[in-house]
């Protein structure tokens, strides 16, 4: 098999696989499976980027997305109160608006694909795309990327400061208590203050 034919076959496999995996995100019934089908789709896109000689970008996409999708799966499981994420639950909702949004975005992207004039500047194979990317990031576009980077970093630090257990607004557990055993409309009661003789008892047992 010639080299260019092998590249073409690999492109069709990875690109088709990315589309199928992206479709499966919505066909599966578990948050963890949905997150990892999305990761599979990104892996296909990363492989296509490697085939397009954007090796660094393709590999970084895989590196970032493997971590991101895992964190996303964990957060979804935490917020959904579904301890393992294995319980079946539907991954699609708001069917009407979802269909409209899907059709509009597909039509828009298809229009761009058909109408837009893509630049056609063949490069020699000895060009180093990683070095060019570095020059671009730290050269002409440095102000844009550094502004975005510092803003994101400040956002992360700020959200940690607000959300951490001993954060900006005091102890996160202040005023919270265990949920009542009987269903009730009232909020959970304040926890009982710890009894003084609790430690005393503990010492005898120890």
């Amino acid at each position: 098999m010639s080299r260019s034919l092998a590249v073409d076959v690999a492109f069709v496999l990875f690109a088709g696989g990315a589309v199928v995996a992206a479709w499966l995100v919505f066909r599966t019934d578990s948050m963890v499976r949905a997150a990892y089908w999305l990761l599979a789709s990104f892996l296909g896109v990363g492989a296509v980027m490697v085939l397009l000689h954007a090796r660094f970008l393709g590999l970084v996409l895989v590196l970032m997305m493997a971590g991101e999708m895992t964190i996303m799966a964990v957060f979804m499981v935490m917020f959904m109160m579904n301890p393992a994420g294995l319980n079946p639950m539907t991954m699609v909702h708001q069917h009407g608006s979802a269909k409209v949004a899907g059709l509009v975005s597909f039509a828009g992207l298809a229009l761009v694909g058909i109408v837009a004039e893509f630049p056609d500047r063949p490069r020699t194979s000895d060009a180093d795309p990683t070095a060019e990317l570095g020059v671009e990031l730290l050269g002409d576009s440095m102000l844009i990327f550094e502004t975005a980077g510092v803003t994101l970093l400040a956002t992360m630090i700020g959200s940690i400061a607000v959300a951490s257990k001993r954060g900006r607004f005091g102890d996160a557990e202040e005023g919270s208590g265990p949920p009542p055993l009987e269903p009730t409309a009232r909020p959970a009661p304040e926890p009982e203050p710890a009894m003084e003789d609790h430690d005393h008892e503990g010492m005898h047992h120890g």
């Binding site: 578990s30 963890v32 499976r33 990892y36 990761l39 990363g46 090796r55 660094f56 590999l59 970084v60 895989v62 590196l63 970032m64 493997a66 971590g67 999708m69 895992t70 964190i71 799966a73 964990v74 301890p83 393992a84 994420g85 294995l86 180093d128 990683t130």
Partner: protein, 306 residues
């Protein structure tokens, strides 16, 4: 390189490394237990254990995610193979010394996290699930130091290729030039393969963690896969920090093998001598101590490379 030969080289390195690791581990276990080391036994024992696992019946759980469960060891083994392919085994001999080898290693090791979590999650059983979550907490803590020490190692070479990083160590090895690099890398590497003190994912305190419900050939595949990851970590460590093929008298491939075995032996010794650390303490240490140390490593290495 011919694709068949490439698969053979990667498989051979991983297989030989995993067997050597098992032999070293058996010898160290006997040493710690005060048992006599009968080398004939020590050398045969891994093969005997593997054969026993291969012939044991496979167990299953109620409604597992069978595909993801079967995928997990394959994912780990494939990522270890990808990492091994990017490391030059001797001067000018690598399966694929790609220009972004260090990034490839980082990407492959990030996917390992997915494999371990899936292995714990898909069993549909409490202990494996807890093991999977433990691994995520561990992985999010070691990823940053791992990436930073590898970046620091790439700075003097002015290249992301593993071959260029080895070539840049002709004068002095990175373990001397960047004394913080190898210790931090080994901590991260033991986390990656959930080995020894950082074995939270498959720990005995969780009845085996992610592997608690796995037996028979599937268990064999999993134990092999995590050893493949450790072998890939040791091979990359030997290339990036211990000067790779550089060394007097002996040929480069022999030096590479010796350095990899030395790192494996060190990992095994730590695994048997250091107690398992509590994960919540490790997370604090990783973010408050290891990441700043890795940043110091990057800044000092960068300043020296200028």
């Amino acid at each position: 390189m011919n694709p068949v030969a490439a698969v053979g080289v990667v498989g051979g390195v991983l297989g030989a490394g995993a067997y050597a690791l098992a032999v070293l581990d058996g010898a160290a276990a006997r040493g710690v237990a005060g048992m006599p080391r009968r080398w004939a036994d020590v050398v045969v024992e891994p093969a005997r254990d593997a054969a026993l696992l291969a012939l044991t019946r496979r167990s299953t759980t109620e409604r597992p995610d069978a595909q993801a469960w079967a995928l997990a060891p394959g994912l780990l083994a494939a990522m270890a193979g990808a990492a091994v392919a990017s490391v030059p085994l001797a001067e000018g001999f690598a399966v694929a010394d790609v220009a972004d080898g260090i990034v490839l290693f980082g990407a492959a090791m990030a996917v390992v996290m997915v494999g371990v979590y899936l292995h714990g999650w898909s069993a549909n059983s409490p202990f494996p699930l807890v093991g999977g979550y433990r691994f995520i907490a561990l992985a999010l803590s070691y990823e940053m130091p791992l990436a930073l020490v590898l970046i620091a190692a790439a700075l003097p070479a002015e290249s992301l290729s593993v071959g260029a990083i080895v070539a840049s160590q002709a004068g002095s090895w990175n373990v001397v030039r960047q004394p913080l690099g190898l210790p931090l890398y080994l901590v991260a590497g033991m986390g990656l393969a959930f080995w020894g003190p950082l074995d939270g994912a498959d720990g005995a305190d969780l009845a085996g963690g992610t592997a608690a419900e796995v037996s028979g050939p599937a268990r064999l595949a999993w134990e092999l896969a995590r050893r493949f990851v450790l072998v890939a970590v040791a091979l990359m460590g030997a290339a990036v920090f211990l000067g790779g093929w550089h060394g007097p008298v002996l040929p480069g491939a022999v030096w590479m093998a010796l350095k990899t075995l030395a790192l494996l032996a060190l990992t095994v010794a730590i695994g048997h001598r250091v107690a398992r650390v509590r994960l919540e303490r490790f997370v604090v240490v990783a973010w408050a101590v290891l990441i700043p140390l890795a940043l110091v490593d990057v800044f000092v290495s960068g300043a020296l490379a200028l």
